[in-house]
Symmetry: C2
Subunit: 152 residues, 2 copies
DNA sequence: CCTCTTATTGACAATGATTTTCATTTCCGC
DNA sequence: GCGGAAATGAAAATCATTGTCAATAAGAGG
């Protein structure tokens, strides 16, 4: 299941080309529902195209983030995580365990949050003359495993 | 204006000692309203106590974050930023320009957001058996300077 | 105020994610 | 198919953050 052809146009629109490595990265992102790091993605890509290098994966992810097609997250473990904006998963926010690093997606209460955010976005973008393209929400704390437990 | 004495107790409560370097870091964090990086803080500390090393600044910030006295942020520029939880500034959220990295604090619409978050926090912590201690909200986009402009 | 235990420190080395460099290869409009 | 620009890969470079370890200092108890 190669990535849909409309990507081709997306790239052309910003003066970029569609290439095998880029397809490969998009395919991996499309197929997963997890928060993959650049290296994770590299490993997956590598299974199918061993010639593709980690550098290219980084460059592709950077480009996709610039294009607004990919979210780049930081969950505090020293590596960035990437997620397709138009992925299989619906829009969601994150619960991050500051002890073990576990990340839980939730989308249960999103609707009200998003409703409020739309208002806030509008007001903020006017007040600060700011063009808002995305938002990130994280709740930080301790997951059930780490709750009463020892640190780290 | 040295940092208030109640910090002393805070440290003792977790088996830690109050030291000159820790005071110095806290003093810098108290005095600023910006989002300082570890190195920024190191430079400030260095003006008063040239003997204090960067390593110690990192360790202190880490400790303060563990204690929940300091927020640690990532605005996507590859370095962490630190902010006192009980600082001079009231609770706020962030607008981050993905082009130039500028960060704008806002607290105008916080009240409604926080009200909603309190509900969401309660529901989430029950559903996922998660002990929530903090939240982070960022709006991403382009600031007025970068709006129509060239990339990077 | 002195002592002793233990947390803390600082200099330096090490790590590890991300970037840069540059010669080579690939895309794609013509 | 051709050519020039865009993209790639390998290796080196960067740079924030962390680990090591011997030397130092905090502070509880005497």
């Amino acid at each position: 299941m190669p990535c849909p052809p409309w990507w081709h146009g997306k790239f052309r629109d910003c003066g970029c080309r569609m290439t095998i490595p880029r397809q490969a990265v998009i395919d991996v992102l499309t197929a997963t529902s997890e928060h993959l790091s650049a290296e994770d993605i590299y490993f997956e890509v590598h299974k199918v195209y061993p010639a593709i290098g980690l550098t290219t994966v980084y460059r592709t992810l950077d480009l996709l983030a610039q294009m607004g097609m990919v979210f780049k997250f930081d969950f505090g473990d020293g590596r960035s995580r990437y997620e397709l904006v138009e992925g299989t998963k619906k829009h969601h926010h994150h619960l991050v365990c500051t002890n073990c690093g576990r990340v839980i997606d939730y989308s249960d209460f999103i609707e009200e949050e998003v409703k409020l955010f739309n208002q806030v976005e509008k007001a903020l973008s006017q007040k600060h003359n700011f063009e808002i393209t995305a938002h990130q929400v994280q709740f930080l704390g301790r997951c059930n495993n780490c709750k009463g437990g020892n640190n780290r």
